[in-house]
Amino acid sequence: MKQLLILSGKGGTGKTTVAGALIKLSQARAYADCDVDAPNLHLSMTQTADPERNDYYGMPKAQIDAEACIGCGQCKENCRFDAIINNNGYAVDPFSCEGCGVCEALCPVNAVSMKPAVAGEQMLYRTTYSVFSTAQLKMGSGTSGKLVTEVKKRMLSSLLPETELAVIDGSPGIGCPVIASMSGVSMVLIVAEPSVSGISDMERILHTAEIFHTQTCVCVNKADVNLELTERIERYCEEKQIPFVGIIPYDSQAVAAINNGKTIVELDCPSGRAVRKIYAETMRLLQVQAGGIEA
């Protein structure tokens, strides 16, 4: 099975729009939303059945038993995350606590204990045809990379027979959730945007993918917003020998499709037509890759 991951560096370039279109076009039997901070793929991929839900536990959080605490302050002094507050007694700020357990180990009177904490929710939509794994991180939780790994694991462990392609929608940025989403994928499709900001972020995500030895290809969304910069992206890819798989024009009908819970290929619109070429080219690259040998 091949895994195709959609990334962008910069937010809002159209990752989810493209991911939704590719899932429809390929009739992918497995897909996942790894943007656990701000998941949106479920809004385009209408599901008929309720998902299987389960709580996601991140790192445990420290808790101080106020009655046992003798106020020695060692926990606060040694906490690297500024997670211990002292307002007439020591307490833990759960948003800052990363669950390292230093305070628990240091406390001379065992007043600190580590409590399991729900950090999000995982959802798996299963039909006779496909599986869709997604999640929502609880606000302010710190373990998004770990949840991304869980979302992918859930998808991979629920695969239906004869699944040839999994499409994974990633998150913006280059940090832990993005790095976690890259592990094990066959190819990263980068959705770039023709702006100075978009190019800067594209270069950063390409560099990140290179560090983790992940193959990449690039498409440009909203290409006609700045044709000069679209060309610059194309040239950049040529120079770096990164496959350039196509462009999508700015299309107000894309907004309409999304606001109606549809993907752009379910409407006859310019962006929907353009993404078909990108799909064909990306699939070709995936097939050429590794000479058809399963990863």
Binding site: G11, T13, A38, L43, R80, A105, M139, P172, G173, V255
Partner: protein, 284 residues
């Protein structure tokens, strides 16, 4: 400036507000993908590296008791051939292994994770955090960045946040007096707007919403605000000229009177809102 969803226009709004305020401080906390500096093109006055602490194991002293390996909640230390081996990319710099090694065989060294670039563009002080590619967490950089504004209390400070609502966003808004949520008119935008509203409320921060890229059609973000009684601070229409100026990383306020007026008025509304909140809820 917050948004939940990426690409709604946080940087556009932050940069133009700071430019409209004339004398201001702009902090780019979106350290994974910092873009404000591309607009300001500041004259760089200083650059400093930011590092995180990671353990340094003295293998002559280590007796392989594996206390450190057993302690590490992040599995950053593995026990291989009877010795602890550090996987530094997973280390959270908690310092536990150093504290609890019975042989005192572990000290700490600095690992560079990124940098902060400071400079000036007109009367705007621009501080930008850059996370090194391949690094997982930008939190140490954001913490240092926020210290940059500590001495500049007389000026308005505009904090450009990362998208989402995870740890890096929380870190960025901790010291904020007022949150501006930038939303786009899509159901994706609304879904993520709701999350950042919850975040602002959890942190007891007063907030208002700027509706960006407004089209003629119905605006799901606007409907959301009305339903949830969220203050609408103003609207920025979808405008291909503004899009073109911004895609070229130019500052609309500095080159066009119409945009100067638009952003100045919006900024004025926000400052009034923020002052009003400060009077109404001084405990914040």
């Amino acid at each position: 400036m917050l948004s939940g969803k990426g690409g709604t226009g946080k940087t556009l709004v932050s940069v133009n507000f700071a430019a409209a305020a004339e004398a201001a401080v702009y902090l780019d906390c979106d350290v994974e993908e910092p873009n404000g500096h591309l607009f300001f093109k500041p004259e760089i006055t200083s650059e400093e590296l930011v590092s995180a602490k990671i353990p340094l194991i003295d293998y002559d002293r280590c007796n392989g008791c594996r206390t450190c390996v057993d302690f590490c909640k992040f599995n950053a230390l593995a026990f291989i051939k009877n010795k602890p081996v550090l996987f530094k990319d997973i280390c959270h710099s908690c310092g536990g292994c150093v504290l609890f090694c019975p042989q005192k065989a572990i000290s700490e060294e600095e690992k560079n994770v990124g940098m902060i670039q400071s400079g000036t563009s007109g009367q705007v002080r621009v501080h930008t955090g850059f996370l090194n590619t391949g690094e997982a967490s930008g939190i140490p950089i954001i913490k240092e960045l926020l210290k940059k504004s500590a001495g500049e209390t007389a000026l308005p400070i505009f904090i450009d946040c990362p998208p989402g609502n995870a740890c890096s966003v929380m870190e960025s808004i901790k010291d904020a007096d007022y949150c501006v949520l930038v939303a786009e008119p899509t159901v994706f935008g609304v879904h993520n707007l709701k999350m950042v509203c919850d975040l602002a409320e959890t942190f007891h921060k007063p907030y208002g919403v700027v509706l960006n890229k407004c089209l003629e059609d119905e605006n799901p973000a606007e409907e959301f605000c009305k339903e949830h009684h969220a203050t609408i601070l103003g609207r920025i229409p979808f405008d291909s000229k503004l899009g073109s100026i911004s895609s070229n990383a130019r500052i609309a306020v500095r080159e066009n009177d119409r945009y100067r007026e638009l952003f100045s008025e919006l900024l004025h509304t926000i400052i009034e809102e923020a002052n009003h909140e400060a009077v109404a809820h001084p405990q914040r």
